[in-house]
Amino acid sequence: MTKTPLQFRHNGRDVAIFVDGGTNLLVALRELIGDMTPKFGCGQGGCGTCSVLVDGELHLSCLTLAETVAGRSVETLDGMKQGPNLHPLQRAFADSFAAQCGYCTPGMLMAAKALLDRNPSPSRADVIEAISGNICRCTGYEPIINAILAAAGGRASA
């Protein structure tokens, strides 16, 4: 089976890889690029832990055919921190105990970033809707919702 060349921007850096036909973006990111921040959860679009931003839009990388991001910009959690400093969302998650086992956290953070990039001062209902495609089995969601609202509040006052 011939491989297909694929170029796209990964967290602001141009990358070029060869993919097998049918490879999904999650596999391309984890196994070919070595970015382990997006996780494999259900493979069905039900859990959201593989969430990434494609041209700024929240997408599920496990349901994205890798070739479809050719020439586009893909952002993952790996690109969120700014140098040694955590992103305000990451800081808020840590301060609010919004992560327990941590498996949902990469997807939660990307879903939260997609929300705040578009709507810097969301309501509680907006936050609940924004993470409705992301499943957390540990926290009961409240600390996550509070963390996102805290990050938004901090950003607004900064």
Binding site: G45, G48, S51, E57, L58, L63, T68, A114, S132
Partner: protein, 272 residues
Amino acid sequence: MAVTVKTFTNASEAAGALSSDRSARYLGGGTLVMRALNEGDVSISTIVRAQDQALTRIDASGPRITLGAGVTFARVLAERDLAFLHAPARSIGGPAVRNMGTVGGNLFAPNPYGDFTVALLALDATIAVQGGFGSRDIPIEEFLQGRERQAGTLVLSVSCTRPASSEAFRYRKIARIKPKGGSVITLAAHLPVSGGRIAGARIALGSMAPTQIRARAAERALEGRSLDAATIAAAASAATEGTSPSDNALGSAWYRREIVGVHLRRLLSGQE
């Protein structure tokens, strides 16, 4: 297992590739086909894609609207002229699924999915498809009845007439998980009114049969009448006629039959 990906710049070439290969599936937003590949579906050996702008076009300015098959639910929600379709679009998935999932793909989504199609069935949509022998328009009901045989055809667009008012089109999805969850049942009602009486009622149900279906007995109970309590009660009690729901993790067939009339009554009475 690796599959062959064939990408075309126009839809008719893609339709040709699709119709000539039984193991080919068309990739729209990926929420159905990539899921099948992730689950190891070996019946798919070729993925066909089309990067044709016609497939992502929205024409929502006039009384009849047309959505390209590749239009996502997020784009439906961003279109002010499509306000009557916002409730069904919003009821699907979380934000990521709405950024990916398409109007055309939803026509093929099995239970407990396919909610947008319930709305389109109530609105008597027309499906434009292209097969090996050219393109044609199919009424949505006929399309759904033959859905298993549609694998070799490419859906190009869906179109329907805009409801006369927000009262004339109603939609309700019953899910156990809020705000996101698979459908226990989904209901949509198109109730055109002429001279105070309903003329051309269409009630569509999701998760009440293997595909989305019309509740014809309930429609007959509404036809030619005003939407009063007695009419609504008659339609609600006829809601299960012709249905054949299944058991799944979200609800049993028995439960679905028990609640469909209750929710139809609430939908028709305008209750939350």
